[in-house]
């Protein structure tokens, strides 16, 4: 359940930001989670529900944007979609590829008032 410590990190970052900006409340938070990030979105949603109780994010609307995986083949430079870390290149069948997108674990934005 590392998703819970992910949530704790989110709360901490938002709290720090709130102190800097002088805002009082967070009404919305937008997260970008890559499908290859090692975080299970369903588990994160559950952890969010539990983990933000009594925190600044308790009443914030949560918007999780799932970012699909994308890789580039190191052999033939072909770019392709991936759902896991062991999809071969559809052009040349090589497993030697670099993940371009999908490992994101980011707080994109917050709405404060």
């Amino acid at each position: 359940m590392h998703e819970l410590s992910i949530v704790m990190n989110i709360v901490e970052i938002v709290e720090e930001n709130l102190q800097q900006s002088g805002a009082k409340a967070v009404t919305e938070i937008e997260l970008e989670i890559g499908s290859l990030s090692g975080v299970v979105i369903e588990a994160l949603e559950f952890a969010l529900e539990e983990g933000i109780k009594n925190t600044i994010l308790e009443h914030a609307r949560k918007n999780i944007i799932k970012i699909p995986g994308r890789a580039r083949c190191n052999k033939c430079s072909h770019e392709f979609d991936v759902d896991d870390l062991f999809t071969p290149c559809p052009e040349c069948s090589s497993f030697d590829s670099t993940i371009m997108q999908g490992e994101e674990l980011r707080i994109k934005s917050i709405v404060v008032e």
């Binding site: 410590s5 090692g38 009594n54 925190t55 674990l105 709405v111």
Partner: protein, 296 residues
């Protein structure tokens, strides 16, 4: 709340050196300053909607198009959007880089051992310390949810060790390592080996500042483990396959296991070993001694 596991007990993480256990008085100075100031929750909900848009729709529409429409300063949009674009794990990543710098400066070769429970991490360490402890200064950090058992085993094998008990936590993080290293008083020109909590999922995401990450699997597990837990294999540099002495008795297919691991991470370097019989250990020692000398 504790940020390692969300457990609600900040003092849940304990660090102890065998023989110096301080019971409940472990100075775990996590500084959990979550001042939830409940009293201040005045929630004054002043949704003031005064709608003084000041649009001043004069609509004069003379030819010089003085359309100042876009100056109604969006006050009615319930708050301000702040673009953060912040990596959620940035704090751990920063701390890990700080550890890495510290290790570099002191010429400490740091390894992070990860695997499922029971693959033989502690046995591998015991044997390694006994066999080449005279050639390399070992310091060990043991991670487990509970008990000092592993720390006692390492101490008996002859290396300085500190035990981190994470309580409910499923992984070690860079902050724990930074504190443990200070408490353990790791010296220059040494090999610091961190035995992470037995778990093939969570520790993958938490950089500790190690020079190399080593994933261990054993022949009593399925050879498809790299496909089942790809994130861990993808983030590792070395893959040790332990318990090769059992190969005649189990269904584990060595070639297939490596093939699966290489699909996930084609940079992996393999060591096939049996801690029990000593098979393959020399190659591992050779690599360990050479790498720690080259550590800068």
């Amino acid at each position: 709340m504790c940020d390692t596991c969300g457990c609600g007990h900040p003092e849940e993480v304990k660090m102890n050196i065998p023989g110096e256990e301080t019971g409940s008085d472990h100075n775990h100075d996590h500084n959990h300053s979550h001042s939830h100031g409940d009293d201040e929750h005045s929630h004054s909900h002043q949704h003031g909607h005064s709608h003084d848009y000041q649009h001043s729709h004069d609509h004069l529409h003379d030819t010089d198009h003085a359309h100042n429409h876009h100056e109604h300063d969006h006050d009615h949009s319930h708050g301000t959007k702040i673009q953060l674009e912040t990596d959620i794990l940035q704090k751990n990543n920063l701390l890990a880089e700080r550890n890495r710098g510290f290790f570099d400066a002191k010429n400490i070769f740091c390894l992070n051992l990860v695997s499922s429970p029971g693959s033989g991490k502690t046995s591998l360490l015991e044997k390694t310390i006994k066999d080449i402890g005279d050639k390399l200064n070992f310091f060990i950090i043991e991670g487990d949810q509970q008990t000092m058992n592993d720390a006692f085993r390492i101490k008996n094998a002859g290396a300085p060790v500190i035990q981190i008990n994470t309580g409910n936590g499923c992984h070690l993080d860079a902050d724990m390592i930074s504190k443990a290293v200070k408490k353990l008083e790791v010296t220059d020109n040494s090999a610091l080996i961190i035995e992470n909590v037995g778990n093939l999922v969570c520790p993958a995401l938490f950089d500790l500042g190690e020079s190399k990450r080593i994933v261990i699997m054993s022949t009593t597990e399925g050879d498809d483990k790299p496909l089942k837990y790809p994130t861990m294999f993808e983030s590792s540099d070395i893959c040790i396959i332990n318990k090769t002495d059992l190969l005649p008795y189990v269904d584990f297919n060595m070639e297939k296991a490596k093939e699966h691991a290489m699909k996930v991470n084609h940079h992996l370097k393999f060591f096939d070993i049996s801690v029990k019989t000593g098979e393959g250990m020399d190659e591992w020692y050779e690599w360990l001694l050479a790498s720690s000398k080259n550590a800068e």
